[in-house]
Subunit: 283 residues, 2 copies
């Protein structure tokens, strides 16, 4: 298993995340050659023109052939199919990883692929998105100082795990390794629920209150400017964990609403104080 | 009714908001004399030392006597009592206003005061807080470019309304005038619910998910670092409107949770898309 530096990187999906990976790898001279794979070659033209990728193709098999590192940066719902489609074309020594926000489906798809000597999959999730999208919003420093999550299963190759870790660390990220289940449940709360809650606040404010929006509202709902297609795709993939997270959130809001109606201000203040302490520690 | 510049300003409560008002007025040379009123004189020492106020007193009557502009910047629950206590000591030509986040109680208290010639009250709400508090966090440019809400009732003196508007505009704010009811219902959604929702997200994430917190979570929950004492005070004052706002938010989350369980992704995407469009317009 290659531990980097890599000779040839294939990035499948050259949007915000894939484009930022290509540009970050280029800026750090981690690879000789970067191949961009997209559904339409025309969509890859800006990345080619910017020098973020050296080669562009709409043929997945051709794009991943000869690569020793392949990163799938397509919408999360399409990742299992891409793993299956890419797998037969990966050569010995290739690390296949992804940048999806939900790990259950893509990891299961990789586990179900027939073993191939020297080919390994490790699920990754760089937590470094933004409410913007597309190559135009990409940034070679997007991963600098951010968290990257890497998942392991009982079947995960240790060298491949170390290689994936080294890759994200090379782009400036702090890496945490956790199980697929812990990942999907954790991000359901810390990211997916947070997006749904923010969309919900905007929907609630639609109408008369909206012209009163100040900095608190604007900051709190920033993530609600994110593309809904991408997020519904994530919610679909993480349906059960999101449902559970939303249930926990609603339980808390239900309890607080009861206390507001019953004027149990001390009880409310105690729970808000606990939340404030937790939040303060995040800086 | 004085339209400014004012001779003598009394600021009651010299914390984040009151301190910022004093410093903003001082920086712009809008007043000859600025009096700070606090429950303890020792608490006013930093404002005195910083030159934000010229005189410090813990005696409300003494503090407001001779002032032609009085701004109450104390916790919202204490405002009605402060209006009643200050009222008999205000001289002709004095504008009394406040900086409270809920207008119902303070406006009602002012309306119930016996008319005094040349003394007028206008409810104000500069939407320029932060999760910090205290004079140490004050900023002479806090109101620059922000929204300030000014309320009117059937009894509001037109000159006083114009004077209050001119005051906030003088500090750099954009002013909107609205009814007390529209104010309290609007801010219940755009500010009070948003704080409660953010505290709730932090409470939901407490435990395993918390170490996975990335920028989206940190931004969305920034307001949950606000002092809970201040916010429970606001929630208490705006109980009915907050209850209604929370009910609307929960209805939306309930509907979305049902759709997530029923896999009605198209319906969910349509409503998230509408929210995304609204949020994008806020910049």
């Amino acid at each position: 298993m290659t531990r980097g530096p890599w000779r040839r990187l294939a990035v499948v999906g050259v949007g915000l995340i894939g484009g930022s990976i290509a540009r970050a790898v280029r800026a750090r001279r981690f690879c000789e050659t970067i191949v961009g794979v997209g559904r339409r070659r025309s969509a890859l033209a800006p990345a080619l023109a910017a020098g973020a990728i050296d080669l562009a193709t709409d043929d997945l098999a051709e794009g991943v052939r000869g690569a020793d590192l392949v990163v799938l940066c397509a919408p999360v719902g399409s990742l299992p199919g891409l793993v299956r489609a890419a797998w037969p074309h990966l050569g010995p020594g290739t690390l296949l990883t992804d940048a999806g926000s939900v790990k259950r489906g893509v990891v299961a798809a990789a586990l179900a692929c027939p073993p191939r000597p020297g080919v390994a999959f490790v699920g990754s999730h760089p937590m470094a998105g933004s409410e913007q999208s597309g190559f135009g919003a990409s940034d070679p420093d997007l991963f600098q100082g951010r968290l990257a999550l890497v998942t392991e299963t009982g079947a995960t190759d240790r060298d491949a795990l170390a290689a994936a870790t080294a890759f994200w660390e090379g782009l400036g990220s702090h890496v945490r390794t956790l199980s697929v289940d812990a990942h999907d449940r954790g991000v359901a709360v810390i990211s997916h629920l947070v997006h749904l809650a923010a969309y919900g606040l905007v929907a609630t404010a639609d109408g008369d209150p909206l012209p009163l929006a100040a900095r608190g509202f604007v900051d709190t709902t920033r993530v609600a400017a994110s593309p809904e297609t991408l997020w519904v795709d994530i919610f679909r993939e993480n349906q059960a964990a999101l449902d559970e997270a939303l249930g926990r959130y609603r339980e808390i809001l239900d309890r607080w609403q009861t206390w507001i109606r019953q004027e149990r201000w001390d009880a409310l203040e105690a729970e808000l104080g606990r939340a404030r302490e937790i939040r303060e520690k995040l800086g």
